[in-house]
């Protein structure tokens, strides 16, 4: 992957924060390739499924087929097949699946468990990666707010703007064959079954001072009531902009991601820069605007968060 250093760093943060990631972007920018590469590096069992309009929740947990003897058989589907060792579940084109599937995914993400064959299956090491393209709107189902809230990050992937990178992407033969590109990666450089412990250690070791906690709370307050915080965006009535969102879960995800960012920078204390570096990806998709502004969501969300960091005092 070239030209996506920020996305890779965010993905790394998500892995160490044990959070689920939703990648969003145009067609052909490398969303799937990136997630496959990440899955290969983490190791552990890896399953993927393609979102389609006729996909049903059962298709995720059960695999039904006619056996050689002609009798119907039901076996574990993609989610259950690897058992507890499932490290990464990759849901491609998630917005093509129906809401029924989303609700199953909701449980899988929130509780890391599903019920099947009349019992509970647990996946302690599971991280869900999903992607969706934002070009098509037909035959797609928008993710419910509850499902979006369960993703730690929603990362927007854009085509690299650097001319040299663009030229390399177009002409370097390395990038023509995604499978070979991923095949060339070193496998399992992270021990998937130790990641939970590592994450716990990071969260307990990296300190957040009173000042930082106050800062995060102030940010939270300001993003819920941007008008009261004195945030101004041209052409937007900020006192009526945000209808809901920025959930407490989102805030705890933000702090988790900030701690990991601090740890990746070799610090034992989280600083406002860490919060800022992960804020957009962890919080933007949790903020819900009034319908008037929802259509211009992408630009307004970016401006709102930029203005937020320009306004809320540090420390």
């Amino acid at each position: 992957m070239i030209g996506q250093e920020r996305v890779i760093r965010l993905l790394t943060i998500a892995l160490f924060a044990r959070g689920h990631v939703l990648l969003e972007g145009d067609v052909g920018v490398g969303k799937t390739t990136l997630l496959r590469a990440a899955a290969r590096c983490v190791g552990g069992a890896y399953e993927r499924i393609e979102g389609t309009i006729d996909l049903m929740p059962g298709d995720l947990v059960y695999h039904t087929y006619l056996a050689e003897d002609g009798r119907p058989r039901v076996e574990e589907g993609p989610v259950l097949r690897a058992g507890e060792n499932l490290a990464i579940f990759f849901f491609n084109e998630i917005n093509r699946a129906r809401p029924q599937v989303h609700s199953l995914l909701l449980r899988l993400m929130a509780e890391r468990s599903v019920s099947a064959f009349n019992r509970e299956f647990h996946f302690p090491h599971l991280v869900v990666f999903a992607d969706r393209n934002r070009v098509e709107r037909e035959e797609t189902f928008e993710l419910p707010a509850a499902a979006r809230d369960r993703f730690l990050m929603e990362i927007l992937i854009e085509t690299p703007s650097d001319p040299a990178t663009r030229r390399a992407l177009a002409f370097d033969t390395r990038f023509h064959d995604g499978d070979r590109l991923i095949g060339g990666l070193e496998e399992s450089i992270l021990a998937y079954d130790e990641l939970n412990d590592v994450a716990r250690a990071i969260q307990s070791e990296v300190k957040t001072s009173d000042a930082l906690e106050q800062y995060v709370v102030n940010l939270w307050q300001a993003i819920r009531n941007p008008g009261d915080a004195g945030i101004e965006i041209p052409g937007v009535d900020t006192s009526r902009l945000v209808s809901a969102g920025a959930s407490p879960r989102g805030l705890s995800y933000l702090v988790r991601a900030s701690r990991v960012a601090a740890w990746l920078d070799g610090r034992t204390m989280a600083v406002p820069e860490d919060v800022r570096s992960v804020f957009f990806e962890t919080m933007a998709h949790r903020i819900f605007f009034e319908p008037v502004y929802e259509m211009r969501r992408e630009t307004i969300a970016r401006e709102l968060i930029d203005a937020l960091f320009e306004t809320v005092p540090v420390p």
Partner: protein, 304 residues
């Protein structure tokens, strides 16, 4: 015969060239009677001369008292070309202070004025001027009850001139001028419409002085906060440690203090986010914090 005539002509030419050529003296005199004590007598003297001749200024009568009863008040001289010569005009204004007790002749004496030509001088004589002066009143008061008080005419009342209109006009003009000055000041953004450029670092320097005077960890943190707010104001947004490079690029006036600024941000990070107050105060002692604020304030003043 011809030779003698030629020589004579040469001689005449030489003589004509040798001295100035006063051709005529005219006087335009005022009336010669009916003058009282203090009356002005204006005489105009016209002297016709050759084209290159001029009046010798030093020979003109001097203004001021001429004798015990006559004073020359003013003298104006002008000169213009007239035909093939020049006409010099001299205007003399005399004032007579003679107090006669009966009508009496007085004479302004003759004066000689020098006229300088290219090769010599000549004098023009201004003739004397004789006129009759009369007394203003009879010498002795009449016996019939006239006293010294009624004998003299009362003094003229002092004329009072209205100044009110003028004063009103001046006040209106001054008011208008002030109004236009205000409008002009507003247009050109002079004081007080000129919003004084905020001097966040100068203010911070004062606040830091106060905060550090309190002492202790709280004082030090308050001082750090004051400088943070100053950086925020100067940058127009909240400035984090990671933004220092961008800030110093946009505000090169503070570039000299770069190392100190970076130390400030790392000390602040230690104090606020690392809970390492002592480490912060070692990295940037209070005195140096104060000095940094003073330096930034100075650079801020210098840049404006």
């Amino acid at each position: 015969m011809l030779r003698t005539g030629f020589a004579l002509l040469m001689l005449i030419g030489l003589v004509t060239q040798a001295i100035a050529d006063v051709r005529a003296v005219h006087t335009v005199e005022p009336r010669s009677f009916g003058y009282f004590l203090g009356d002005l007598i204006e005489r105009t003297i016209e002297i016709e001369t050759g084209p290159d001749d001029e009046i010798v200024t030093a020979s003109l009568p001097r203004t001021g008292p001429s004798n015990y009863w006559l004073e020359l008040r003013s003298l104006a001289q002008s000169s213009e070309r007239r035909g093939d010569g020049r006409l010099h005009t001299i205007k003399l204004t005399y004032q007579a202070f003679y107090a006669p007790i009966d009508p009496r002749k007085q004479t302004i004496p003759a004066t000689e004025i020098a006229v300088r030509g290219p090769n010599g001088s000549e004098t023009a004589t201004i003739p004397p001027f004789t006129f009759v002066m009369s007394p203003l009143r009879e010498i002795f008061p009449e016996k019939g009850g006239e006293t010294a008080e009624t004998f003299l005419r009362p003094d003229m009342a002092i004329p009072l001139r209205r100044a009110g209109g003028l004063r009103t006009a001046v006040l209106v003009a001054a008011g208008l001028a002030a109004l236009f000055l205000v409008l002009l000041a507003r247009d050109l953004a002079w004081w007080p419409f000129h919003r004084r450029p905020a001097r966040p670092f100068s203010r911070a320097a004062r606040e830091i002085g106060r905060a550090l005077a309190k002492g202790g960890a709280d004082g030090y943190r308050a001082a750090l906060l004051a400088l943070h707010r100053a950086f925020d104001t100067a940058a127009g947004q909240r400035l984090l440690a990671a933004d220092v490079d961008r800030f110093l690029t946009a505000h090169p006036e503070y570039g000299d203090a770069r190392t100190a600024v970076e130390r400030f941000f790392s000390a602040s990070r230690a104090a606020f986010f690392g809970d390492a107050q002592r480490e912060a105060e070692t990295g940037l002692p209070a005195a140096e914090l104060k000095e940094l604020a003073a330096t930034l304030a100075r650079q801020e003043r210098g840049a404006r």
